[in-house]
């Protein structure tokens, strides 16, 4: 715990997003319901980079949607700056896994969309858009339409569009999972650069790729079990966890792959897993 604050350096520590005993139940109809998440307690502080890991169907996207106010918890609450989150807000940006660019708008217009929908005049935001475009390396593509972009460029535009309006938190749901490995590495670096460049930037990223989760995150949580809970959390802010060839990195990766990989077994015997919470990993360099 003491290593925690020193490793995060100058970053602030006020909690922005807090989950308190959050549960989410989906009702298929009157008779059957499905508990997707249960007893979720989570704190996202200003400047954090949290990664959420878990098997497919484990409830990662559900957790992210709860954090963004896209769905409301069945019980418990999500606090944003200390008050219950009322719903979707531009202060919490979301990048979806699938392409959500507007096909009738150019790169530049897509990035400026957040200003346009709030009635801003073009002259008020043109500079900001220009800035963001240059930052993400899309200035040469400014006049292209989404169908003329590669998959990686599309994801960069999506991220840029959310960043342009300067949200307090950026949520990303498997933003790179549709990309090949080389491109994914480039975009991981790109995202990390953005996070490092912006002092206040707070990000929560969902992924099923263990390596990505360790590489990008400062904090890592694993969602698993049935119903989904946080079965493991680790502070991975130490520098060893940004070197994918470091022994600590590889050990943690192996451990997490086992945790996530063993997941399906628990479906067969849910009761034995009801109380399991994974070993607490604390980092020390």
């Amino acid at each position: 715990m003491s290593s925690h604050s020193s490793a995060l350096g100058e970053r602030h520590h006020q909690p922005i997003l807090v989950c308190q005993q959050v549960a989410k139940v989906f009702h298929a109809n009157q008779q059957s319901s499905f508990t997707a998440l249960e007893e979720i307690n989570l704190e996202v502080a200003r400047g954090d980079f949290v990664t959420i890991l878990g098997r497919s169907g484990g409830g990662k996207s559900t957790l992210l949607k709860l954090l963004g106010g896209f769905i409301t918890p069945t019980s418990g609450q999500v606090l944003f700056h200390g008050v219950p989150l009322p719903g979707i807000t531009p202060k919490i940006g979301m990048v979806f896994q699938e392409n959500t660019l507007y096909p009738w708008l150019t790169v530049e217009q897509n990035i400026g969309f957040g200003f346009k929908v709030r009635g801003k005049q073009k002259c008020q935001y043109a500079l900001r858009v220009q800035d963001v475009m240059e930052h993400v390396g899309l200035a040469p593509a400014r006049h292209l339409y989404p169908h003329q972009l590669s998959g990686g460029m599309k994801q960069r535009v999506s991220i840029a569009r959310s960043l342009a309006i300067q949200p307090d938190v950026l949520l990303l749901d498997e933003p790179f999972s549709a990309l090949d490995i080389q491109l994914r590495r480039r975009l991981q670096k790109f995202l990390l650069n953005i996070w490092q460049d912006t002092e206040e930037a707070t990000m929560v990223l969902v992924t099923h790729d263990v390596e990505e989760a360790i590489l990008l995150g400062q904090k890592l949580i694993v969602v698993g079990g049935q119903p989904g809970q946080i079965i493991e959390s680790a502070d991975i802010s130490a520098p060893v966890f940004s070197d994918r060839y470091d022994r600590n990195f590889l050990d943690l990766q192996q451990h997490l792959e086992r945790v996530v990989g063993e997941e399906p077994d628990m479906m067969e015997n849910p009761f034995s897993w009801a109380t399991v919470s994974g070993p607490k990993i604390t980092s020390h360099s």
Partner: protein, 270 residues
């Protein structure tokens, strides 16, 4: 080098190929027609005079068709018909998008209104002609109304369907970026449905075109349909053929125009 050149040539000839073939087949078609129609004894030539017979009618009559005070220039006939079709389709296009948006505001309006639209949509626009003549008299309004009835209902149903088809995340993203309800309509829903509805408008152009010509043949006193009817009344097959020809060429031109509009303004897929 050789390979590159042949590739480029190939692509040029491929893009010009349809035009080339189209011109050839038209020339051959007219040629055969001329040969058959050259013999005045031939019964076909009486009903279907070849272009060399009916085109001169244009010049002989100083581009005017009809008798005395009722005569109108060809140019006028074409314009009148075009204005009727285009205004009817424009009103129907805008109206159906507005109505589609309003209907999709509530589940109940969908449930109650869509069945009525579904019942009215299949009525052939021609069937509205007598009613329109009674209500609007012999006027441009009649023609515009018929065109409107021919496409409006289908397009409204299509608009509602297109709105349902919009990926939810496009709307959620707009909300996430700070857009309110009205803004989401204006900046997401309308642009998202435009191309689909316009495509259907294009496909329904033939119906609208037929409707306006039928109206002109049965009731109205000017327009392209009237040219054909004048030919019939005067037992002048040259005039009939001339009218038919102009109807074909104008219809083709409008269809191309709509395609161009689609490519230039409504090209995206959602």
């Amino acid at each position: 080098m050789v390979k590159g050149n042949s590739g480029r040539l190939g692509s040029i000839s491929r893009s010009l190929l349809p035009l080339f073939c189209g011109v050839i087949s038209c020339v051959v078609f007219v040629g055969v027609w001329e040969v058959i129609g050259a013999n005045p004894e031939n019964p076909i030539a009486q009903v279907l005079p070849p272009p060399s017979k009916f085109l001169p009618v244009l010049f002989e009559s100083d581009f005017k068709i009809g008798l005395g005070s009722q005569s109108a220039s060809i140019y006028q006939s074409v314009t009148v018909t075009l204005i009727r079709v285009i205004s009817g389709m424009t009103v129907a296009f805008v109206g159906s998008i507005v109505c589609g948006l309003l209907i999709s505001l509530s589940k109940w309006s969908e449930l109650f209104i869509l069945p009525i639209l579904g019942l009215i949509a299949p009525i052939a626009p021609i069937a509205w002609i007598p009613l329109a003549l009674v209500v609007f008299g012999v006027s441009n309004l009649t023609a515009v109304f018929i065109v409107f009835m021919g496409v409006f209902f289908t397009l409204t149903i299509a608009t509602v369907a297109e709105i349902k088809r919009i990926p939810e995340n496009l709307l959620i993203t707009a909300e996430n970026l700070g857009g309110g309800n009205f803004v989401r309509w204006k900046f997401v829903i309308i642009p998202a449905v435009l191309p689909g509805v316009f495509t259907l408008l294009r496909l329904n152009f033939i119906a609208a075109w037929m409707a306006v010509l039928a109206a002109e043949m049965t009731g109205l006193r000017d327009g392209l349909g009237t040219v054909v009817m004048t030919g019939r009344n005067l037992f002048n097959s040259n005039l009939i053929l001339l009218g038919i020809c102009i109807i074909g060429i104008t219809g083709f031109a409008v269809d191309r125009l709509l395609m161009m509009i689609q490519r230039k303004f409504f090209w995206w897929k959602v």
